[in-house]
C-alpha cells in the first residue's frame, strides 16, 4: 500500500467510523431531545394557564396557539409565544390568555439574555405576576399600568410591547368574550 492510498484509506475509515458513531448517538439521544423540548413547552403552557393539564396545538393565521384544557376537557385558556427585543437580545415570552374573561392568565419568560440582576429580573414572579388577570384592553405602558424594575426600564418595556402587539393578532382570532 503506497503512502497516498494509505492516507486516503485512513481518512475515509476514520470519517466513516465517526459518521457511524454519530448517527448511532443521534438515534439514541434524539427521542429524548424531542421529549425534553415537548416537556419544556408543555410546562410553560401549564404555567401560564392555571388549571390546564393537557394541551392541543392549533395553527391559525400564521400563529401557533396552544389550547390548555383540564382533565375534564374544559378549556382553560390559550397560550402563545411572542418575542420582544430586549436590552441585549431577544426575549421569548409565553403568554396565557383567557378570551372569555378578556384577561391574561399569566406569562412566563422562556429565554432572554438581559443584564443579570437588572433586566434579568423580568423573570422573577415579582414582575411576571402583575400580568396575571390583566385586561387585554389595558395600554401596557411601563410606569403607567406596568410596574417596572428599578434601574432597568428597557426590558420590562420590551416585554410589555411584545405582549401588547401579539395580543392584537390573537384577539382578532379569539375576540374578547368569545368562545374558543
Amino acid at each position: 500500500m503506497n503512502q497516498y492510498t494509505r492516507m486516503i484509506v485512513v481518512l475515509v475509515a476514520i470519517s466513516l467510523a465517526a459518521g457511524a458513531l454519530l448517527a448511532f448517538s443521534y438515534e439514541v439521544t434524539n427521542p429524548k431531545i424531542q421529549e425534553q423540548a415537548q416537556q419544556a413547552l408543555e410546562q410553560a403552557v401549564m404555567k401560564v394557564i392555571p388549571g390546564a393539564e393537557k394541551m392541543t396545538t392549533v395553527e391559525k393565521e400564521g400563529m401557533t396557539l396552544y389550547i390548555g384544557t383540564d382533565n375534564q376537557g374544559n378549556k382553560k385558556g390559550i397560550a402563545f409565544k411572542t418575542t420582544g427585543s430586549g436590552f441585549s437580545g431577544p426575549i421569548e415570552i409565553m403568554v396565557g390568555y383567557n378570551p372569555k374573561e378578556g384577561k391574561l392568565t399569566g406569562i412566563e419568560i422562556l429565554s432572554m439574555s438581559e443584564t443579570p440582576g437588572l433586566g434579568a429580573r423580568i423573570k422573577e414572579p415579582a414582575f411576571t405576576d402583575q400580568f396575571k388577570g390583566k385586561s387585554v384592553k389595558d395600554d401596557f405602558i411601563p410606569k403607567k399600568d406596568v410596574k417596572v424594575i428599578t434601574g432597568a426600564t428597557i426590558s420590562p418595556a420590551a416585554v410589555s410591547k411584545a405582549i401588547k402587539s401579539s395580543l392584537a393578532t390573537v384577539t382578532k382570532i379569539y375576540p374578547v368574550g368569545g368562545d374558543f
Binding site: 454519530l22 443521534y26 441585549s88
Partner: protein, 195 residues
Amino acid sequence: MLKELFFIIVSSVLVNNFVFSRFLGNCPFLGVSSKTETAVGMGMATTFVLTMTAVAAYFIQHYILMPFGLAPFLQIVSFILVIASLVQLVEMVVLKISPALYNAFGIYLPLITTNCIVLAVALLIPLKNYNLIESTIFGLGAGLGFTLALILMSGIREDMEFGDVPDALKGPAIVFITAGLLAMIFLGFAGLVPL
C-alpha cells in the same frame, strides 16, 4: 433590509463584540495582540476567512445538512472540516495570486483554524436563521469586531511596554485585566441596536 444589515454589523462590531462580549477568539487575541502591525494583519486575515466561512456555512447548512437531515449530528464535524480546508485553500490561492499579500497576512492563516470565532460564526448562522446576505454580513462584522478588539489591545500593549506592570501581572494577566476594562467600556453600547 439595509437597516437589518446595518444592525448586524453594529451589533457584531460594537454591541456584541465577539471578543469583549461573546468571549470568542481569546487565544489569538492573547497571542497576537502585542504589536499593532501583527494585529492588523491577523485581523484582516481573520475577517477574510470569516466572511468566506459564513458563505460556506450557509450553503452547507441549507443545501447539504438540512435536506438530508444530517444537521443535528454532522454539523460540527462538517463545519470544522470545511473551515480547515477553506483556510488551506485560501493560503494556497493567496500565495499563488499575490505573494505580497501572502507575506502580509499569510503567516496568520494557519492560526485561524483554531480561532473559535470562525466555528462560532458557522454555528450561529443556522441558529439565527440568517439568509445568505445576512450571513455574509454577519461573518464580515464578526471579523471587523475581532480586528477592532485586536487593534485596540495591541495599541495599549505597545504602550504598556514602556510602563511598569507588576511582575505578577506581566503577560496574560494584565491582558485579561485590560480586556476586562475594555469589555466594561463596550458595555456602554448595550441596548444600542434592537436585536
